[in-house]
């Protein structure tokens, strides 16, 4: 181990339930508990919420990328019948403070612009009216006078901009909001000693999750009844009162956030704090409950969830025998107009930046650039999807420059199965893995050798067919140091280190388990997962478990589905709760059976005497007796009525970043591995890519539900296909967002998906989580872009086309082919 990592000691495992064969419920593809109500149309999404006296908001949005607001005239809008009020940024600022920010020092952002706008779609005024139609009519009557400022659209130009082109002159003297450099290990020495250095400039362009449901809020304010009641489709409802209480000028306890079923997030609804602050402020100003649901255009232009938009200058140091020794890059990231999460997406990427390879050191300079675009937020991968692609691009480049087979070069450099837990140069660990096994299963599933021969033969016939292989990491169970570990160490900001997940379980006198969750359903399967784990641990039937979601006042400790954390974290909470319930059940049950607690065990939903067949008490009978017949038990607190517990599980394995940032600590240690192999054919005339064959093998540790995990892999892969082949946000030179609609922002339909997708799983359990579970919500998007890019480059290898930027839409790819043709004839 490199010296710089010696102080980063791996804590002992807190695993209580060992991974093992022969489990009853864990590992079953149980049908989802959530589905019947959703399938029948009774899910209860945010737009299904109505409260008495509710009014509707519509927004007036900026048509300019960068402009001063000279004046706003709301008189005509206010006069329209049905309008309750029209409000500007100044009005809103009379009831709310600026939005919270993880950037440190913060970049000021108001939920509604004041003074100037910094991107197209930024809200400058809002109408509250009796219905949405009237509100939109009135919004069109609001007159705004603008003084247009120079728009920063290009990443590198914006970094150098001055004067009126500065976005936040009050907060920063440059459009580079953060510029930090790091060396983890002996980067300079490794590069000085390298036999070969591979260099590439790589570009990843912006897109976003675009869940089919937009973000929305229903907010009520009552100063005499304890503050705000807010329905929101935020992923983070139990934490967010602490994040936004200050902005709403109430204590977190005066903020009741009620969760709803969420129509997809993929990160885009992780916080959703701006829309909550905006709608809540409007409700307070208007004195009536207000509903605001973004329309699709507003979701594109103002929901602060654009994905990574990066330019990398990357170098890989390679020894004479092909061993990778060090990786370094300078990265510029176009964060858009604000910096809500600091450079958390780069912090995230530090979890697995060196991929599955034994690379001894890593260096980075990260520069966060502000431009006149909608600001970034999370999107499936949260920045690691980009570094996965960068790493795999560099390996393919190395293979080409060294004249090596790309798969063989990967195998040579892979971490070996006996090296886990393995600490990478940034300080994060990979808990367990068997990358060689994942690769070999994928090769078999795909018939890689056969396909390579076939592709070769097809190319000889003049067809552009190629095969690509990617071997990537899938970090899961996130720790929150990623939000701040790359901030300047003098001004780290809010140095959060907790990501708890809680659960309440009550055994009802009827014998049902009533479970209260503290994180919402966003398309994942929180109830199904918990049903399977509690059924396993408490020997009950899943259908005897009933679900309920807390609100932020009744709930306790939930961080929500993000960073592929929920399944592993809630499993920990389920085990803690089960241990306590088991103890209680045994105490009551043993008394009823006139035995000692150590002589009984849980068996098929009963407390039963060990070794004896018919000596048992059903949980229902125990719960009934303990709830209604107190006198059947001895005096003493341990026999207090009822069987209930609340349990919290903290992050299973994390350490602090080193003070001098020579490492970043352990923060994302439950790490899966994925191998995607794909064959494509490119039509050189149109640049269109057709997927001919696709295999993916994922190792997410112990699988709780193979079917729902497969759904995550499929869905993530679809996102990755879109990212690679069709999805990009287009901005023109004035900062207009020109394809902010579903017709022109081309997400894959069923027709774009591979016809014969083959999915395999390897199960290498985690030694640190309960039952060895790892998260698996992001893998598809973490692997697909690398494999597809590689396959396309292989397909066009005879034509000398190199892919250094994503996406490669048909026109872009056609352009690359044409330039290569021209270069060849010149």
């Amino acid at each position: 181990m490199s010296d710089h990592l010696k102080s980063n000691v791996i804590p002992p495992s807190r695993q209580r339930e060992a991974p093992r064969a022969g489990l009853t419920w864990i590992g079953q593809s149980m049908m989802r508990v959530e589905d019947p109500r959703i399938l029948s149309g009774k899910g209860g999404y945010i737009d299904d919420i109505t409260v008495p006296g509710m009014a509707h908001a519509a927004m007036v949005s900026s048509p300019h990328a960068h402009a001063r607001i000279v004046s706003i005239d709301t008189s005509k809008a206010s006069a329209l019948p049905g309008v309750i009020g029209v409000y500007t940024g100044e009005d809103l600022a009379s009831v709310v403070e600026p939005c919270p920010s993880f950037a440190s020092p913060p970049i000021t952002q108001h939920a509604m612009a004041m003074g100037k706008v910094r991107h197209v779609g930024e809200v400058v005024a809002a109408v509250v009216a009796e219905d949405r139609y009237v509100a939109e009519d009135a919004a069109e009557l609001v007159e705004v006078e603008w003084e247009v400022l120079p728009a920063c659209v290009d990443l590198e130009a914006s970094a150098a901009a001055t004067g009126d082109a500065l976005l936040h002159p009050d907060d920063r003297e440059s459009n580079v909001a953060l510029d930090e450099s790091f060396a983890f290990g002996e980067v300079d020495r490794h590069f000085a000693e390298a036999h070969h250095i591979v260099k590439r400039r790589l570009r990843w362009q912006r897109s976003s999750a675009q869940a089919i449901e937009t973000s929305g809020v229903v907010a009520q304010f009552d100063p005499f009844k304890g503050g705000y009641t807010i329905h929101a489709n935020s992923n983070f409802y139990n934490f967010i009162p602490f994040v936004i209480g200050g902005a709403l000028r109430v204590s977190p306890g005066e903020l009741r956030i009620v969760p709803v079923l969420t129509g997809g997030s993929f990160g885009s609804k992780v916080f959703s704090h701006k829309i909550i602050i905006l709608t809540a402020g409007l409700a307070r100003l208007a004195g009536v409950p207000v509903k605001y649901i973004e329309d699709r255009l507003e979701h594109f232009t103002n929901s602060d969830s654009h994905g990574s938009d990066r330019l990398y200058d990357t170098e890989l140091a390679v020894a004479g025998d092909g061993t990778f020794t060090s990786l370094r890059f300078t990265v510029l990231d176009d964060y858009g107009a604000y910096l809500q999460f600091g450079v958390g997406t780069h912090g995230n990427a530090m979890a697995q930046v060196t991929g599955p390879y034994r690379i001894q050191s890593f260096g980075m300079r990260v520069r966060a650039v502000l431009t006149n675009k909608t600001q970034q937020g999370p999107y499936r991968g949260f920045g690691s999807e980009v570094t996965n692609w960068v790493m795999e691009r560099m390996v393919d480049a190395a293979a080409e420059e060294l004249g090596r087979d790309p798969v063989e070069l990967r195998v040579q450099n892979m971490i070996q199965p006996d090296q886990f837990p393995y600490m990478i140069p940034t300080g994060n660990i990979y808990d367990s893995g068997n990358f060689q096994k994942v690769l070999s299963e994928a090769q078999t599933l795909f018939d890689l050798d056969g396909w390579r021969k076939k592709a070769h033969a097809m190319r000889a016939e003049g067809r552009c067919v190629g095969v690509g292989v990617a071997t990537c990491m899938e970090r899961s169970v996130y720790g929150p140091t990623e939000w701040w570990s790359l901030n300047n160490k003098e001004t780290p900001g809010f140095t959060l280190t907790s990501t708890p997940e809680g659960i309440t379980v009550r055994l009802d006198p009827s014998g049902k388990l009533f479970v209260t969750l503290n994180s919402p359903m966003v398309g994942n399967s929180p109830e199904t997962v918990v049903a399977q784990i509690l059924a396993e641990r408490l020997t009950v039937a899943p259908e005897d478990i009933v679900f309920n979601y807390s609100d932020s006042q009744s709930g306790f400790n939930g961080v929500g589905p993000q960073g592929s954390r929920f399944t592993a974290m809630i499993a920990g909470a389920c085990v803690s709760a089960s241990i306590r319930l088991e103890e209680k059940l045994k105490r009551f049950g043993a008394h009823m059976l006139q035995r000692r607690p150590e002589d009984v065990e849980l068996r098929n939903g009963t407390v039963a005497v060990k070794g004896l067949k018919d000596q048992e008490k059903a949980f229902g009978e125990i719960a009934l007796t303990s709830s209604f017949f107190r006198l059947s038990f001895p005096d003493g607190e341990e026999f207090d009525s009822g069987i209930e517990t609340t349990a919290v599980y903290d992050h299973p394995l994390s350490t602090d970043p080193a003070e001098d940032r020579s490492h970043l600590g352990i923060f994302y240690p439950i790490v899966g591995h994925i191998c995607h192999i794909v064959a494509v054919e490119v039509d050189p005339g149109t640049g269109k890519v057709e997927i001919l064959d696709y295999a993916a093998v994922h190792d997410n540790g112990t699988m709780v539900n193979p079917r729902t995990l497969a759904g995550q892999v499929w869905g993530g892969t679809a996102n990755g296909i879109g990212t690679t082949l069709s999805e990009v946000f287009n901005y023109d030179e004035t900062g207009q967002f020109t394809n902010a609609n579903f017709a022109e922002f081309a997400m894959p339909t069923a027709n774009e998906m591979p016809r014969n997708f083959k999915l395999g799983h390897v199960e290498t359990p985690s030694p640190f989580t309960e039952y060895g579970i790892k998260g698996g919500g992001e893998g598809g998007r973490l692997g697909a872009p690398s494999a597809l890019t590689s396959a396309i480059e292989d397909a066009l290898s005879d034509r000398g086309v190199k892919i250094a930027s994503l996406p490669v839409t048909p026109p872009i790819l056609r352009g690359l082919i044409r330039s290569a043709e021209q270069a060849a004839t010149r």
Binding site: E34, S40, I212, E213, G264, A718, N751, G780
Partner: protein
Amino acid sequence: MTTVSFELTVNGRLRKATVPARMLLSDFIRQELALPGTHVGCEHGVCGSCNVVLDGKAVRSCLMFAVQAEGSEITTVEGLARGDDLHPIQQAFWEEHGLQCGFCTPGMLASAQELLAENPDPTDDEIREAISGNLCRCTGYEFIISAIRSAAVKLREADTETTLQPT
């Protein structure tokens, strides 16, 4: 505001309405009829999450005015289940894991109904084609395709005359 009065049948029930002439069918169904199962994802005719079955065809309710549905018969997702029993297509979506967040699902179910009424034994490519106007951001479509394939079998086995109209 100009209002119009009209009648139509929704999920087997005759409904009379007086609404502003410009009210979209999607808003009418969700707000006036209080049937929130029909979802609105884009309001510009691309995503298909607002699809309902209107006189046997899956249509975009966000692209029609409510008044244009005068005299028609509409089935929304709420009209599919019989009491406690999910419709065979819903059941197949459940069994095959054809939904994650469920937001696109009512529209998918509408497209599937139209397809299976016209073509009781579709190929996978025909299923793909039938749902190619429905966006799903969660599933990657594969399990939706399996669900529709399985629903076709269920419906053929049940020998249901039509999958469309509630009785």
